[in-house]
Amino acid sequence: MSAVLLIEQILNGLQFGVMLFLMAAGLTLIFGVMGLINLAHGSFYMIGAFAAAATAAATGSFLLALAASLVAAAVAGAIVEMTVIRRLYKRDHLDQVLATFALILIFSEGTRWLFGSFPLFLEIPEYLSGPISLPFGIQYPQYRLAIIAVGLLVAVGLFALIARTRIGIQIRAGESDREMIAALGVDISKLYTFVFALGAALAGFAGALIGAIQSVQVGMGEPVLILAFVVIVIGGIGSIKGALLGALLVGLTDTLAGFLLPAAFGLIMEPSAAASVGSSLASMSIYVLMAGVLLFRPTGLFGRS
């Protein structure tokens, strides 16, 4: 195993982590501000990817496709918030889980209805395709590097939004004390719609970015959604900082375990057995990580008890 390969895997882990952060940030904001557990968050990821793929097919522009993903997911998010989600804020978690599960069924099957069961493809734009040479002779796909950069940029922007802007102050007030924001004269229902649409837009954006690496298909959102749940549970529900740290931890653990465990077992077992044992354990690694974190901190790394 060479150092170059390891660095490549670390970059892959970062790219995966950054993408998970885009998903997890919305989930954790929505939970922190509105107290809502949203299973349908993965649907916005899917909607973003489909919007991007359709736009790219029609216009040929990748940037327009990304813009479309943001707009489509945000609009879908705002509509869902105003029609369904807002009735759920005062309900218990069970009702929230079931209602948003119902939304998944509607979104997934609805998308299948519109686009069919076959996957769509979103091409990486010319200017980002191909590898780039990094120091130490590492060749790494430009596009993946761009995802890391864009993701980190979004993270910085999100922190700035929350720390510096008026709406950020309202969001933070909403997290600590719901009655206070009403007292501040904030239109809560507008704030909630905004936060929900923002979260949806981030998820849709992630879907579009990843859609260019993987195929765009119905059901693509749910595996990512569950990983995003693991992320925010590890980071502490409601904490953006926790979501970032959790996302990077999960991204790196998942990628590196898949890479290192089979190799490690290869030292003590025959190759085929090592590959199968290693990969089964690797697929469980992030859940083991989560269980470990919760054993010591039941409310996650940055969670409030």
């Binding site: 009735r87 069970l94 209805w113 569950i226 749940f229 697929s283």
Partner: protein
Amino acid sequence: MRKETILNACVLLGLLAVPLWALRVDEPFIITLATKAVIFAIAGVGLNFSLGLGGLVSLGHAAFFGIGGYSMGILASHAQSYTPLMGWPLVIDGTNSMPLIWLFAVLISSLFALVIGALSLRTSGVYFIMITLAFGQMLFFFMISWPAYGGEDGLVIYVRNGFPGLNTLDPIQFFGICFALLCGVLLAVSRIARSSFGLALGGARQNEERMQAVGLVPCKLYLIAFTISGAITGLSGALFADLNRFVSPTMFSWQMSGEIMIFIILGGTGRLFGPVVGAAVFILLEYLLGGLSEFWHVYLGAILLGVVLFARGGLIELIVGREVAHD
């Protein structure tokens, strides 16, 4: 007699009557559907034990459903290939006797429920939901990448397992077995619900602080409930595997966990017969809507959304009204 009791009796009679009618008109497919409804009902009764009675919203019950399924799959596949399951330290052979498989399924799934419950119950609320979901996913991915028992493709069992004195390949006889088990499980659960344990568990759901003040430990009650709940859902998994003569990692999928939860909410959370009504209606919807459109999940989603938003007590409440307090 209470209205709900009458309704419950009607539901059981209906579940029994449909396959008998199907037998007369020679529609084995309907019998299979009814069997599926009964098996799903058992899975739902299992989840309802922890969710309805104890208020533990587990989104990972597919784990126990899958473990039950693979208990059957693994034991039967070893019997099929005449290889021992374990050679050391003690020899365990595969089997294709249903009662043994059930016993095994219940034991293993309750063991898993005990461990998963002990870890998950360190948390509560939304953390609990997500952790149970994550444990379910953990087992799902494990089954996919574990090649010994078929991995992603699952396991095919060619012959349905046997039950002494019955021909299990006859749909109506297999239905009878499942129906009898459902009745047994319902009887046991209704007894436990009225027992001291059930009273304490329900008390913990309503007010943990109160339970501690009278000297009862909510966490212990929850763990016992979660374990029993996992065991019942595990049993249904073994039956489901036998119905299909096939097990695959999809039994562990989180959509399965969601579906089991749907049975409960459709019928009525916390009601003894909630999951039975819910599972029957679910299968009926699948049959009717599935015939109408390939995309019947859209309608299912809309119906579910409607029930959650506007009819929180589920179908049973729509029929018999709000539950009255009783001892």
